[in-house]
Every structure is written in C-alpha cells, then in structure tokens.
C-alpha cells in the first residue's frame, strides 16, 4: 500500500512532463510548454516592444516640439530617414503608425493578456496547466515572429507601413501611394496575420481552460475578477479577431492580385487605375468590428487586475462583486454594436449614426458601475499603498478622466468637430493607453513575486509611479485643448499652418513631459531586471491575498502544486471579515474552520450548514456577540 501512495505523489510531481524527466535549456526556457514560463516570455517580449514603441513616440514628439531644429544625432542613428538631423515626413508617418500598432496589439493585447492570462488562469482556477500547452507555446512563437517581422520593416529600403495603425485603404491598398505602402505594408499585413493567429490560439486556450479545468469547488461565481476579465477578453478576441482576418485577406488581394474589394475610381498622378466598384468604407466596417472590441480587449484585463489588486490592498472585499461581473459582461456585449462611432463622418446615414451613438453612450453605464465600485472598495479600507496599489488607483484615475471625454466623442454631432483631432488622441491615450498600461504595471508589481520568486524594490516603484503618473497627465491633458481648437492628428509640422503655430509651445511642454516619463521607465526596467536576480526573496503569500495562486510554493514547478490541487470553499474576497482571526481568509479554508466569522449568506441556502452554524453560535454566545 505504501508503495502505491509513494508512487502517487511521484506521479503528481511530474504531472505534465509526459514522460520527460529531464528538461533541457531548450524545453525549459525557449520552447517551454509551461504556462508560467510562457507568461514570462510574453511579458519580457511585451516590455521590449513597449520600450521600442515608446522610443518611436519620443522621436515624433521631438519633431512636433521643434519642427525647425536640427538634431544631428538623429542622422547618426536613422541615416537617410533623418537627413540633416530632421525626421522626414514619410518617416514621421511610419513612426506614428508603428507606434500605434505596437502599443495596441503587441504591448496591450499580447503583452497584457498574454502575460497575465497565461500566468493567472491555471494558478487562480486551480489547474496544472492550460487545456493545450502545445497550442499555448505556439501562440507565443507566432507572436514573437510577428514582432520580428514588424520590426524587420524598419530595415527595408521603403520603410515601415505608414498609413496609420488602422491602415485605411486606398492609401494602404496602393503600393505606390506612399513609400510606406510598399513592402512595409506587406510586412505589416503578414505580421498582423501571425499576430491574430497567436491571439486566437491564446484566447481559445484561455476560454477552454476556464470552462473545463477549474478545481473542485471553484464554480464560476467563486472566480476572482481577474479570471472573469481574462475570460470575457478571450471571448471578445475569438469573436472579433477573425473579422480582422477577413478584412486583411481582402486587403492583401487588393494589394497583390489586383482585385477591387476596397478600390474604385482612383487616379494616381495622371494614370487612371482599372479598379472599380470597391468601397474603402467596407474596410472601415470590417476593421472597426474588430477595432472597437479590441479597445476592450486592451482595457478589460487591466480592469480585472486592478479590481483584484485594489481589493487585496484595501483589505476589503471588492465592492459589488456581482455588479463587477455583470458590467464586464455588459461591456463585452455592447462592444460589438458600437463600432460605427468610429465612422460618424464617413457619410453614414444619420439615423444609423444615431443608433451607434445610443449604443456607445450606454457603454458609459457599465463603465460607471465599475468606477463607482472601485471607489467604494477604497472607501474606508485599510489601504496598503504598495506600488501595485498605486498603479491600480492610477488606472482608475486615467479611466475616469479619459472616459469622460468618450461621452463627448460618442456624440455623432460633436464628433463632426472633434473627429481626427488631438482630442481623440488625448481621449484614447488616457482611457485605453495610460489606463491599460497602468493596469499592466500594477499586475507586474503585484505578481512579480509569483513569477520570479523575488520582490521588486518598492522605493523605485514609488519613484516610477509618481513620475509616470504626473507626466502621463502632462502629456495627454494639454492635447484636449489642441483638439478643441481643431488641430488635426498625424500632421507633420505645426509651423506650416497659421492657426496651429500657437500650439508649438504647448508641444514643447508635452515633449519634455514625454521625455521625463520615458526616463522614469529606466527606474522600472532596472528594478524589473535587477530584482529577477537580486531582489529580496519573496515569501509564499507576500500580499496576504486569498486567491489560489498564493497557495503554490515559491519555487515554481511544472504542474504548479506539488501534491493535490487544493479545493476551493469560498469566494476570493473575504478580507477583514468581522469575527475572523486574520484580516484575510484564503479560498482554500473551509467554513468549518471559520465558525466565528461565518455569515448566513455564506451558505447559499444550504439548510444543513445553517443549522450547524446556528448550533455553534448557541454554544459560543460570547464570540457571536462580538460580531
């Protein structure tokens, strides 16, 4: 009998090794099928891409602030794209395009969802790994290839794609239209197809894992909000990314085979093109049918992470757990019927515009529910201002200040003035850019001990937070006023237009703020990479949190738990429960061990448990009175 039990544990230890007892460097660090390692791969690739995209933004900010000044150093690095130390107009367009593409897709979709869905889904629902670890590995390597191809477009003669991150045809569909529409655009499309394939493989895996592989007792209404957010994000991806593929396939045919899906009545120079009958508006429909859910793909994981982190660090249950979930579901559903608000000025039927306006404004309701719930969670909490907590609060701040301008832009009539101006730039950089990146950084600071078994320095974390927080507002807030004045986005030199010249001084402020914010990231990068090797060794549950991932040992092992997967008995937010011994009760603690703190509603109408609880309370009247 003893041999059997011995063998049993042994089998669990090597649970997912499938017979391979030794891991080589290649299977452990490169082609790893362990969700925790894949999460780290996504995170580090995401950080590298974020640094690159931030660098690109500094380059075009230099141009916007000092359009008449030469920076000889730029020519050293960029060669012919910055001849005489000035960024060329063509390259400026490439910069904004690739900045947008990398940030939206590679950092805030793959870097955020890829990292935290992979890390937290198996750990927080109690699974050994993903439904298909192999598909998961493939997902990372498709993403990596997509990154390499996207960056590769900087090393070709004609430069990277330049038609904006939305790559509207006909500009993007005609290889000779601008230099960036040549090979660079082709590489962009290839890279995006790989990226979508990666996202789909990831998303399908996440949904299947969450629905099928939860541990005993983990019903859907006991899942942490992070898991709910990742789940709904993955569903959004599965339902919307294929439409982008459809659009991209047609665009590839238009570019390379001469079809007319998006093209009609085009004159290039003196030459009339043969394409007829297509419509570029149809691209916009297909693109924004993905594109709008995409912004929720970006923000919902950040919302989930912030909810979890704020509850842990406020030492309070999340306010309105069910409302938080229903609002996420509401956002998920509504996000599919609002895409038209990106197209109010394309000649859309005003009646249809009105419909899209109403659906868009209704999204403010679940968003506001979430916001008020976060504020109510903070209200009278024993707040621990860890760096993760600060970033989570920062996320809420940006979500509010950026979300308010969404109500302006969602109006079909106001949008006539505001569309394609810096007002839009300000809006989405706050509400989805800064908010999502703060949610991501909150997640990095909070889950660093889980990923690397060590702590990040909180002093550097505070420095990083305050500079980034202040500078993000200094960068994006002034842009609202440019937009209200009608300054269009993507313009190369403000000095060329009489009415825009007065804004150059504001641009100088914005650019300096951006440079300081970029320098603040050095504090983060140093902290991150230094702490991986030299950080303080973490304890098993450094934040005293309730969720399952903190019941795994600090040494990370394939299969997550050395013995059996723990059973879950309660929801994840029992913080500061009256009558409890500690201010947190992990999900794995059964109610029979916490008789002094049980509430009638804990038993969900189970009359037997209620009876036992009543009997216990009658036997221990003193404890009951203290409640």
């Amino acid at each position: 009998m003893s041999t059997i039990s011995l063998h049993d544990t042994h089998n669990h230890d090597n649970h997912d090794d499938h017979g391979h007892h030794k891991e080589t460097f290649l299977t452990k660090y490169v082609f790893s099928q362990d969700h925790k390692m894949i999460a780290k791969q996504f995170l580090i690739t995401g950080i590298i891409m974020a640094v690159i995209a931030m660098g690109l933004s500094i380059l075009f900010r230099l141009q916007l602030a000092w359009p008449d000044k030469d920076f000889p150093i730029l020519e050293t690095f960029l060669g012919k794209w910055a001849e005489g130390g000035r960024i060329k107009p063509d390259f400026y367009l490439a910069l904004v395009t690739i900045h947008g593409t990398i940030m939206v897709f590679f950092v805030l979709t793959a870097g955020l969802s890829g990292t935290f869905s992979n890390l937290l889904i198996p750990l927080q629902i109690g699974a050994r790994d993903m439904a298909s670890p192999f598909l998961n590995m493939l997902s990372y390597w498709f993403f990596f290839t997509a990154c390499v191809i996207m960056m590769g477009s900087f090393f070709i003669q004609t430069g990277p794609a330049s038609a904006g991150w939305t790559v509207y045809p006909p500009l993007s569909a005609l290889p000779t239209a601008i230099s960036g529409s040549g090979l660079g655009m082709t590489l962009w499309l290839i890279s995006m197809v790989l990226f979508v394939a990666s996202s789909l493989m990831g998303g399908i895996n996440y949904v299947s894992t969450i629905l099928n592989m939860r541990t005993k007792g983990m019903d859907l209404w006991k899942m942490p909000l992070t898991i709910w957010a990742f789940f709904l994000t993955a569903i959004l991806g599965i339902l919307s990314f294929p439409v982008l593929v459809a659009g991209v396939v047609l665009l590839i045919f238009d570019r390379s085979f001469g079809t007319s899906f998006y093209l009609s009545d085009i004159v290039m120079g003196t030459q009339i093109l043969p394409n007829e009958g297509g419509s570029p508006i149809l691209w916009q429909h297909l693109f924004w049918f993905l594109g709008h859910p995409e912004v929720y793909i970006v923000i919902m994981p950040a919302m989930g992470l912030s909810s979890e982190i704020m509850s842990v660090n406020a030492r309070k249950p999340i306010f309105g757990y069910h409302a938080m979930i229903y609002s996420l579901i509401g956002i998920t559903i509504l996000s599919f019927i609002v895409w038209g608000h990106h197209m109010f000025v394309t000649g859309m039927n005003p009646l249809l515009g009105g419909v899209f306006m109403i659906t868009t404004l209704i999204i403010a309701v679940p968003s506001a529910v979430k916001t008020f719930n976060w504020l109510a969670t903070l209200w009278r909490g024993n707040i621990r201002f860890t760096p993760a907590m600060l970033f989570a609060i920062g996320m809420v701040s940006f979500f509010i200040s950026g979300g308010l301008t969404g109500i302006f832009l969602g109006n079909a009539s106001l949008d006539i003035n505001l569309h394609d101006t810096y007002f839009v730039i300000a809006h989405f950089h706050l509400v989805m850019g800064s908010a999502a990146i703060f949610g991501m950084l909150a997640g990095v600071y909070h889950y660093f001990p889980k990923m690397f078994g060590r702590m990040m320095s909180s002093k550097l974390g505070y420095l990083h937070f305050w500079i980034t927080f202040a500078c993000a507002y200094l960068v994006f807030f002034p842009l609202h006023f440019l937009g209200l004045d009608g300054v269009p986005r993507r313009y190369y030199a403000f000095t060329e237009f009489e009415f825009m010249q007065k804004w150059v001084t504001v641009n100088i402020l914005v650019t300096w703020s951006a440079i300081i914010a970029a320098l603040a990231q050095v504090a983060f990068l140093f902290n991150f990479f230094y702490s991986i090797f030299k950080g303080k060794v973490a304890s098993q549950n450094p934040w005293q949190a309730n969720t399952l991932e903190w019941t795994t040992p600090v040494e990370r092992l394939h299969g997550n738990w050395p013995g059996e997967i723990p059973t879950v008995y309660r929801w994840p937010y029992d913080y500061s429960k009256p009558g409890a011994e500690a201010d947190f009760i992990p999900q794995t603690v059964p109610f029979s061990q916490t008789m002094s703190s049980n509430m009638p509603h804990d038993f969900e109408g189970n009359s037997e448990s209620e009876r036992i609880q009543r009997e216990w309370e009658e036997e221990n009247p003193s404890v009951d009175a203290s409640k």
């Binding site: 629905l211 339902l239 919307s240 294929p242 079809t259």
Partner: protein
Amino acid sequence: MVHTLKEEDLKMEAAFNAKPRKFVVWLFVVSSTIMFGGFTSYYIVFAASKGKGHGLVLPDLFMYSTAVLIASSICLFLASKALKNGNIGSQKLLLWGTLVLGCVFGYLQVDAWGTLFHTGAAFVNNNAAISMIYVVSGLHLLHIFAGLCFVTSTLVGAYMGISAEKSKFRMDIASIFWHFIDILWIYLYVFLLLNS
C-alpha cells in the same frame, strides 16, 4: 499493482484532458464561422450599396461538389459509428472513403473555378462580389485541407493501434471539424445562390 495504478492514472488524466481539448476545436469552429461571417457581411453590404450581386449562374460543379462533401460527411459519421461498435476494419475503410471524397471535393472546387474563369468571371474582377466567390471557396478549401489532416491523423492512429481513448479523441476531433466544414460549405453555397 503499482503498475496498473499508474496506467489507470494516466488514463484518467487523458480522459480529463480530452474534454477541454475538444472544446478548443469547438471554439475554433466559432471563430472560423465569424471569419466567414465577416466575408458574407462584406458581400451583403457591398451588394446592398451597389444594387448588384455576382449576377452569375453558378457552375453545376458546385452542386456536384456539395453532394460529394455531404457523402463524405455521412462516410465519416459511419466511421465514427464503426469505431463505437469496435469495428476497426470498417472504420479504416470508411475513413479512406472520407479522405477520397474530400480530395474529390477539392478537385471539383478547383474545376469549378476553371469553369468560372472560362465564362469570363475571373478572380481579378471589377465586381468584387465575383472575386468574393473565389475568396470564400478558397478559404473553405484551406479548411478542407486542415480537415483532411485531422482525418489522416485518425486513420494513422487506427493503423498504429493507439489506445481506445486516444483513437476516440482523434475521431471526435475529426468529426467535429469535418461536419463543421460540411455545413459551412452548404451555408456558403446557399448564400451565393440566394444573393446572386
């Protein structure tokens, strides 16, 4: 004793893992449906705004290929049934049937493109609705190719004599996927017939 326990354990694990993996295939079916939904919505909006569809009489070959595809689906269904009854021999035979019929379908589709091309409805066309016929049938053909891979893997499994759970798992995956692409093609064909 220990040895049997290990095997049982592994079996349990395989059964445990089969369900989420099958679910992965279902989710892929959903996302693929959405992609074709994207194409057909393009078609609907295009046709509505231009007041014209592809305006063709679709080649009869599409009708034959549809019949072949339905036959292949029935074949696969019978193969699955044979496996359930433990009749590996007829399962193999029926899987071969599915493979052959799948290849015939592919051939007929390409032949239909030829017919379309010769009647003047080329892929590069100023009527995007006609180009769309090629796009949807082409991408569907890619799915057929993937489906053939699944069927082949089931067949190889049957010859190699893999465990009953595994061969049932492969059979299930192939069935989900193959019946899906069958229904998908019927949808596309009917869609193109109705929206000419």
